[in-house]
């Protein structure tokens, strides 16, 4: 009869007893993990490294320098584009987060109503339909409205961004509300809080991490958008991605690298903020 305890402690041999399944111990696991990380981050690493290159080439390293940052920050075109991006992103974030919050409250804090499934579908529509279709459709509609009313301006771009940001803002807020125990709100009402006080003192503070996450997601999505912006943006409404896109057609310069690195920095800061905010609340 085999003695299990002896077997598992046999010198030199690997432990032979059955152990619980552990993905991390499977052969090739760490290799695949490293490969994925490499594919994800190597391009960004190269981008960042060459943004500090003194040379005009993006493939040949010569010397460390900040000249491309200086030139990028002094570039009027980049400045304008960044300003447009921030404006559009800020407006789209605020408005879409506001509506997403209302939608999340309505779909989680009410009795189920007929057609609730349809509401989800409508809210999440921008995720389902290919962006190019939305872009063409939006362009056509806006052209019609402009023709009828004669009103132009950056408002159209902001509106378009707001719409496709709503589902991104909605999802984390809704997730947060669904996690939240309904009896907390009832407990507050039981302790003499009016519906408005319940919202201000209980619901809103507890859903805040979801709102912040939703807003950040919305901002990133707006900041990043190319296809819809390309279609809808009028003259003088060039956002940063569109500007970079335009420059690239004339060849990659280290200046593009520098701008991109700054954007990476911004998103890292956002994610870090999000992380700490979430930590503090939990």
């Amino acid at each position: 009869m085999a003695d299990r305890t002896l077997q598992t402690t046999a010198p030199g041999g690997k432990p032979a007893g059955r152990r619980p399944f552990d993905l991390k111990r499977q052969t090739g696991f760490s290799e695949i993990a490293w490969f994925c990380l490499f594919v994800l981050y190597a391009p960004i690493a190269v981008l960042i490294v060459f943004s500090f290159n003194d040379n005009r080439s993006v493939t040949l390293w010569t010397e460390f320098s900040l000249r491309w940052y200086r030139s990028a920050l002094n570039n009027q075109g980049i400045q304008n584009a960044a300003m447009i991006s921030l404006q559009v992103g800020a407006v789209a974030t605020l408005v879409s987060t506001f509506f997403a919050t209302l939608a999340a409250l309505a779909t989680t804090r009410n009795e189920r109503f007929r057609g609730e499934g349809l509401v989800y579908a409508v809210i999440n529509q921008p995720l389902m339909i290919p962006e190019i279709v939305t872009a063409v459709a939006t362009l056509a509609l806006f052209a019609l409205i402009k023709q009828l009313t004669g009103v132009g301006g950056i408002g159209y771009l902001m509106l378009a961004h707001t719409v496709f940001c709503i589902p991104f803002a909605y999802m984390p807020i809704r997730a947060r509300l669904e996690d939240m125990n309904l009896t907390l709100e009832q407990a507050a009402a039981d302790l003499y809080a009016t519906p408005l006080q319940v919202f201000r003192r209980i619901t809103l503070p507890l859903m805040m991490p979801g709102i912040v996450a939703g807003a950040m997601l919305a901002f990133v999505v707006s900041f990043d958008d190319v296809i819809i912006t390309l279609m809808v943006a009028g003259p003088g409404e060039t956002t940063l991605p569109i500007y970079i896109f335009g420059q690239m057609r004339r060849g990659i310069t280290p200046e593009t690298n520098a701008v991109s690195t700054l954007i990476v920095l911004l998103s890292v800061v956002l994610v870090a903020l999000l992380f700490f905010f979430g930590k503090r609340r939990r």
Binding site: L184, Q186, A187, D190, L191, Y192, A193, T194, P195, R281
Partner: protein, 388 residues
Amino acid sequence: MTGDGAAADRTAGRSDRAGAAAIEIRRVRKVFGSGQERAVVALDDVSLTIRDNEFFTLLGPSGCGKTTLLRLIAGFEQPTAGEILLFGSHLEHLPPHRRPVNTVFQQYALFPHMTVAENIGFGLMMQGRPKREIDETVRRMLALVRMDDLAGRRTDQLSGGQQQRVALARALAPHPKVLLLDEPLSALDLKLRKEMQIELKRLQHETGITFIFVTHDQEEALTMSDRIAVMSDGAILQVGTPREIYDHPARRFVADFIGEINILPAELLETREASGGASARVRLSSGQVRLARLPDGPVAAGRVNVAVRPEHAGLQPAGEGAALTGTLSNVVYFGTGTHYHLELDGPGGEGGRFVVELQNRLGAGADHAIGARLGILLTDGSLQVLCD
């Protein structure tokens, strides 16, 4: 004792109010959902009067409607029909935040983004009390539930028992007229549970607030309550003191649900009224006749069920006019006493089982062997006639 229906004098002092109706529930019905198939009748024509200053317990199995009744009183649900009165004034159309009633929730529902002290002060703050008064009351409440040194803690850093005490203090702080407690002890381990039972009784005594306590633990109900309502399937089957409920169950369900009991078929012979409650002569299956207590409700004439607690019966030699006879099939020793299980002689051979509980005395050995034929001693008054 004042009449149940009397409207309470709200301005009177506590001693005058004692015994007045704190909560009156009149023919309340609650149906969840609509349509023929999906409708759930959670409460069916429930009427109940809970007196001021009382520790009142709702006892019943899971799903019988205890929580629903509490939620109707708190205002989280609206009754489908019927009335709910608090010290004589109607509650039905008041939203929860305007009812002077507080709840201790089953899962405590402490606010996770506030400290212990902020949780306890929340109700007072919502009532718009001055800050100084809030601080003072919070300090008193912390002392009352023995949590003084944890005032600044976040509630997710508390043990189960501590959370429970914070929930209690939070509900008590605004000094509600009635406190509703929904199985507040069910999440605690046995030792803590026993401690909290004593603590709850103490708090109720010290504050003089009417407690409506929900549990499905019969022992907890018996030890803590002034009165108990036994519920089943959305209906209240019996209301009474723990002793009344235990010694004189009116319905088969009540008898079965609380403690151990023997149920025997019998024939109702004649009833008589007496000062200690109505009683009747019943003939048991053995032909012996005994005096049994009648319940408050209506009893069918002729064939009835009578109930006997194991500790209210005794053993005697077979024959000699024993109420019943049977064969000893099992002896179970449990420290303070011993259970003797008997197979009863019946007309058709199977007369059912009967359990007799005898107290153990020091030095006395087991004197009955399994298989022995024994008589069961039932004195007049140890039997209780059931309504069903």
